[in-house]
Symmetry: D2
Subunit: 283 residues, 4 copies
């Protein structure tokens, strides 16, 4: 069935829903689901995600566009229309730990994640066999303090035109602001703590030292400031005084992989809208 | 601010959202939030909850009605329009346990629950002091096997014209089908298990005997069949082999009161739509 | 039944359990439950909590003490022996928010918390009616920047000899290091975030601004450094982009009261041992 | 380090802990951790799990046995002493779904699960490639109504002397009582509901139909009665009215694999004791 997902954000005003839904109707579409959020009842920003189906008619994206273009202009909309379920192209960045990597590959293979993976990038050779097992090109680019700019240039070259977004699946290297800016809003990282607690290195060690009773994981879009970008998803697991750092790592990785998988899935399904340093997640 | 909540259910067809949002626009309203659910992309039932604000104009419910009446007829809608936040009238039925009772009274007093409580009904005298403390009329109606029909007639009399819905806050007596039918879809019960496990009496005892590792609570609308009505909300808490029945009861009541409070709140805020034996909960 | 709880901490060495359990046996006791934790298999600190019952004999605490005194000395133990279930005396400090206060009072009344409450202290008059309703003396001591030392002296006077521990049930005033030191390891605070995130003021506002998807609460022992003391218990609840600060506060208070109640219960039942800046919690 | 795990169950009497810990001491061991549970303070059953280390001496299991044998006899103990961390031999039974299978294999490979896997048994050929990838023998034994006894005889033959326990990782075939009895207390199954809700076939379909707001998974020991054996672990995940059966299956499998992994880990680490139809789980 010919289903479309429409994403909109614009200054809130009266009449947006009426105008948009009228265009869907005229193009022969039936709204399957719509979600809407306004940041403030008066003078806020309006966000909408709408799935519709060309039910009794051939898909008429041109007809929709003819109706929608002046509406979008009138309301000063940022918007995009995508074919629902169409695979997005995802680059995976990894280092040595394989739990998030293996989990994402398994979810893709099982049909849960509609993504293509044109390439895997790593600063370590360790996970090449895993990539090989799934038939994925693995680019090992060793990085040290001296060669990061050159390496990132190589990466950007590899990625250019090939991918829609990047997932840092426990990639343990900070990307430069220039790199981040090139893929603004399109790099998802999994951090192994419930942010904003334990920003930066060694969160499990610091969680153990602080004696917390709950640990967590956070998936967020990468921005220039470390671990400070818009949060997409978080979850936690209970720990206790018996748990050493090694135990926290074991418990934590079960949360990390699930939190990252949810975030990637929602991103791929166009459910996430960035708004300042926050996200609207329509699930 | 003059805010309205509109609830709609009807057979799904193209054009519903366009027609409804057009009426909101014409009546001078701005849609603050809308939630929509269709049970099946083709030929399902359409549910919608919509909050709108008469922002720059006086509230014009008549204008809205003039536009909306023919729309509602055309799409064969069940619908209602309510003033958002307007208190509903809630009867509380209790027995001996006070945790859900006290919790609801406290939430109302704190402003969290917009309800009026015209009366409390009980088959035991125990909780009269609590009702008195909050200035609520307490009707003690002892029930045994012989007098249930007469007692229920008395209750219906007390309730007639006074309440919008009934909450069974650990009221430990099964209501007759006649009583239930009179308030169909308007009686909320809290059951102390994660239904459908442990329907009926003594769920904690049976949970302990079965050796479960998780216990739960379920808020649902009451129907003729015991503990089988549409579920509004459920939640759980972990237990272990050390927990005796008394411990399960202590842990359980913390879940019961929260689950019931959420269900009551969502009911009062017109977020729950019944659909066969299930609910759509727009939160 | 004459049940005792024995708490021990000491440098770990071989033979501790054998020596302790031998004394229980000789005094006619039967061990109902024992929990043990060693921070490090080699050269760590040993913690033990042991419940025993003088089952077939009269309680013989003197007999136990005769056996145990040399054992405690040999192993350089910190220890205490208490009558299981004997109520402890708790001072409650409150400000304006009543949810934790009401919840603790209700739990005590229901028999869940074995505590006596000799007094309530507040820097606001607001909650006096609640205290009155439960028949508790309420000491309103307004504090400002100029009079804190004098007020704290008054408080210490009121508390002297009257209480075993203090609970800050959303008491929104920082106690001086002198005050804290006087009740070291005996002041429990509830902080309305998952520490170490959002230390200090306005955690819900900051959580909203940061766009977190989970909020939490933390019960901890108060130390000189703000919100940095040993954590007893934490828990969380999911939130989303629709939640404004007011919603976070509503959701959060359900977690706050449960987390604080668990921490108080465990403290009262002698289940918590402080160890550096962490806790061992035997539950 | 030479660490041992000792598991004991016996009728509760005074002096058990003293006698056991004395033997550990005499054999040169240091108790690292002990957990104890008594089903009833008076006349119940006593369970104990104890880890000790031969710290300053060579491992002296014979010395321990000399001391412990008469103790075990005196208190009528069921007991076993195992080398902590020694791998157990696990047979995996699978059908078509791979999520639990892949997860267990990955956990073993990552070092989290100390198990050997001598063989995989399946009634379908589908997962042979996965087994091959991990270098595991895969025995495909098609079963229908006519040949189950013969097939089970083959299975028992394959297993004889080769495995310590069996994990049914979404193996969708009911084993005969004779088979179950042969491996009593040593077959772990993952059921895709929170038992006792939705015993038997199609739990996700039935959960969807019932309109539950929480789904779960249960790991339990297999007994003659279907899905009625001692529960080791359970966990749940929230669902809502938008979730169709396919969504429940996706959400559910994330819970299934984690619940099964925990249960297998605890079994392998000798943390689970069966007691009637319940379990004591020392974690």
């Amino acid at each position: 069935p010919a289903t479309r997902t429409l994403l909109i954000s614009c200054p809130d005003r009266r009449g947006i829903v009426a105008a948009v839904s009228q265009c869907v109707l005229e193009a022969g579409g039936n709204i399957l689901r719509s979600d809407q959020h306004t940041t403030d009842p008066l003078g806020g920003i309006f966000f909408m995600r709408l799935e519709f189906l060309y039910a009794n008619a051939p898909a008429d994206d041109d007809g929709f566009a003819r109706c929608f273009a002046p509406v979008a202009e009138r309301f000063a909309m940022d918007w995009r229309l995508v074919r629902t379920g169409e695979p997005k192209r995802m680059a995976l960045f990894v280092s040595r730990l394989d739990h998030c990597f293996v989990d994402l590959l398994w979810r893709r293979q099982s049909g849960e994640l509609p993504v293509k993976i044109p390439l895997v990038v790593s600063n370590h050779p360790d996970l090449e066999p895993v990539a090989a097992q799934y038939g994925l090109p693995y680019h090992y680019l060793a990085i040290d303090k001296t060669n990061q700019p050159a390496r990132e240039a190589q990466m950007l070259n590899l990625l250019e035109g090939e991918v829609d977004f990047i997932v840092l699946a426990r990639y343990m290297r900070v990307l430069s602001p220039q790199f981040v800016e090139r893929y603004a809003g399109r790099i998802i990282n999994i951090h192994h703590s419930f942010l904003p607690a334990f920003v930066g290195a060694s969160p499990y060690e610091r969680a153990c030292e602080r004696g917390v009773k709950v640990i967590g994981a956070t998936a967020h879009y990468v921005t220039e400031e470390l671990d400070a970008g818009p949060i997409i998803e978080q979850d936690v697991v209970r720990v206790n005084h018996r748990d050493q750092v090694a135990d926290l790592k074991l418990k934590g990785r079960d949360i990390e992989r699930v939190v990252l998988a949810r975030a990637v899935k929602w991103h791929v399904e166009d459910r996430v809208l960035i708004y300042g340093n926050r996200t609207v997640v329509f699930v």
